[in-house]
Subunit: 424 residues, 2 copies
């Protein structure tokens, strides 16, 4: 009786505990809306396709497929393309003064996989992870798979606050918490847009040494600087060999290649490689070969200058529009690099209340609370300036400014006329 057969009963009951807690991210749902026609999106973190070196990629693909196709299309080592690994180490040693010891680098399928593998290799349920507050939602999502407690450390304009970090470590350890690692985006932070000062970097490494804490340094934006000001990577200052540095080609070549790397202590890299073997066996060998040639032929540094110039100009267009159209209550940093501006509105504004009107006006942003684990940041929003056209940026900021002003007016009226809040 085929017709009477039931589907599997209650699939949801069979899901693992971790899967029962998994939810699609806010940003993901928002990004679906941004695919609507005429939508101006500041919501994603998409590079500008004008920054893709298409001509060079085509040249390299042709060369590889003409001369070295079999190797580039076959299964590869889990650790990654050996020549690419060596060239990345060479670049880090020469450019950043990083030190490599032994088998120090693993090619990953995007830095997102580096984050997942770190979680997989270190986290038991209820272990503690320290992150900046706010922090990258993708990192929070990756760690959450392994069900740790995530502790947010407040930031200011100089990055993670070291007084708060010290307090938090003390508090966690006093309560028996097992801190497995600290996750930071020190340069051109996502979403905050700021960079950790040199003094803070030194202090962070001191604290990590004192408390013997492993650091994940996520650095997707470090190369995207708009000024001559540079920051040493934490990894280059890492005398203890306790930093796992995550680098990526997603913003300096193209994101579609899913080609990134983790650079750190051999013992950790080896364990991540074993974990990666079960996760996806190896990273795409063809696009690893393309990435290698892109560096080997010296295209990357030439091309980086183009990307920097483009994004610097985009950031200026957005900041100029914000000066023109945003209410004075909106506070923000002027970006010195990276891809984002973080906007703070008065505490009594909830930017989620503005989303329906924003969608109606065909403008998208990410509400700030998506970047916190605690529901903070409701008065903040993250704006991306790299993907939209100059005209879209001008027009989008204009619309957003109008919505902000309406919301501020509403709130003022409400504050003026509403009874005092009940003490629930």
């Amino acid at each position: 009786m085929p017709a009477s057969r039931a589907m599997v009963r209650h699939i949801a009951d069979l899901f693992s505990d971790r899967a029962k807690l998994m939810k699609g991210s806010d940003i993901r749902e928002l990004l679906k809306l941004t695919q609507q026609k005429d939508m101006i999106s500041f919501a994603g973190g998409l590079p500008n396709p004008q920054a893709f070196p298409v001509v060079e990629i085509q040249e390299i693909c042709n060369d590889i497929l003409s001369k070295n196709a079999y190797y580039a299309l076959q299964y590869g080592a889990t650790e990654g393309n050996q020549k690419l690994r060596e060239l990345l180490i060479k670049r880090h040693v020469e450019k950043d003064g990083m030190k490599a010891e032994g088998n120090a680098i693993l090619i990953t399928s995007g830095s997102q996989q580096g984050l997942d593998l770190m979680g997989r290799v270190f986290l038991n349920k209820d272990d503690v992870v320290l992150v900046e507050a706010p922090s990258f939602t993708g990192a929070i999502g990756a760690f959450r798979t392994y069900r740790p407690t995530i502790e947010g450390i407040w930031m200011d304009e100089n990055g993670m606050r070291m007084d708060v970090l010290r307090e938090t470590i003390k508090h966690v350890r006093n309560h028996g918490g097992n801190i497995k690692f600290l996750y930071t985006i020190p340069t051109f932070h996502n979403p905050a847009g700021t960079s950790m000062s040199l003094a803070r970097r030194k202090e962070l490494l001191e604290i990590a040494h004192e408390h013997d804490i492993i650091i994940i340094e996520d650095d997707p934006y470090g190369e995207l600087r708009f000024t001559d000001e540079t920051f040493p990577t934490l990894k280059s200052m890492d005398k203890d060999n306790r930093v796992v540095y995550l680098g990526t080609f997603s913003k300096t070549l193209v994101p579609g290649f899913r080609c990134a790397w983790a650079f750190g202590p051999e013992e950790i890299i080896n364990k991540m490689a074993i974990a990666k073997q079960s996760a996806d066996l190896c990273t795409n060998t063809f696009t690893q070969a393309v990435a290698y040639e892109y560096m080997f032929r010296g295209y990357i540094d030439k091309h980086l200058n183009n990307i920097r110039a483009l994004y610097k100009q985009k950031a200026e267009v957005m900041i100029n529009a914000m000066k023109k159209y945003f209410p004075e209550e909106a506070k923000y940093n002027v970006p010195k690099g990276g891809m984002f501006v973080w906007v703070r509105l008065p505490k009594d504004i909830n930017v989620r209340d503005m989303v329906p009107r924003a969608i109606q006006e065909k403008i998208a942003y990410v509400p700030g609370d998506a970047f916190y684990t605690t529901g903070e940041g409701k008065n903040c929003m993250r704006l991306n300036y790299t993907n939209a056209s100059d005209e879209q940026i001008e027009e989008g900021i204009k619309r957003l400014g109008k919505i902000m002003k309406e919301e501020l007016a509403k709130t003022k009226t409400a504050n003026h006329t509403a009874p005092p809040p009940a003490s629930v």
Copy 2:
């Protein structure tokens, strides 16, 4: 005092419980040895590079980069390229009579990722997974990350034994075990080389219905058949919508693209997509676009005939050499498709004892116990015939036959002269 600084103390103590149990696979270590010069390897599962459609790939890469580069190089949806998903569903519906309901397909970074995501989405520690004995080591590794109990179901020449399956389900449930899914490679099994009969396929689906068990049907080799005999996929016979079918381009296009798919109940596919978002955000968009064009332009079916002819011929070379050089005690199947021959020697032979001599003779295979969770299979070995040249196959089988005969002679002498085993 930088010089006196210690590295992180005892990284290994900080590893998660799952990471502490992770070990590199035997096959992985063996494959490293096979990179030695002059080594003839039957150990891997590598497609033959002659089977890579390089000319078509080059044509497609050029077209994409000339006409549609921005889309193909940008971040993509976690679920995968929409056109590729639709074309895969269409192909399955038309070719295999599978039924698609809703959002039924997820593009994964190789089928290895499909296995990992199934583990992630379903397995709590100590849940039960049913697999064939022997089974694919990559699947066992992926599931083990989530620390289930893995129960092996004996196979015979018609695939998984249904009497053993019924017994095992009864036994597990009587002991309070929570069976989350059954994993099978029904067609051209890795490593056993055999296919599940039609009668067994029907009975498997009956048993799964009766006991409400989800099935993973891993089908990397189904298209690589050497005869006119075809088997319906379990998914095409799946009236309950309880089968998650895993397909891949690794053996029909190239493995380096890491492009595969999971096709199954919408509720499971959606949960896997959420899990994938944290695992690697999305699969390589460029090679997804290439895979789409490879199918859309109709190249795949033309090319499949070339691959089938090549592998059929390779299998014949190996079987003919085995008839010539192997001792009569070595038993094996004649492959009707796929990539492997499974060789069984007498029970008192341990093929690991032969490995040092094999390495010395520059010949590599995978010992059978790598495919069991219980230490069985010590008298078996898996031989791959797709990657080596015809001359290498002939020479390699000759060397292997010599080693087998020596080992058999040694064992006979030992049996003849040794005292009866002590009853320990």
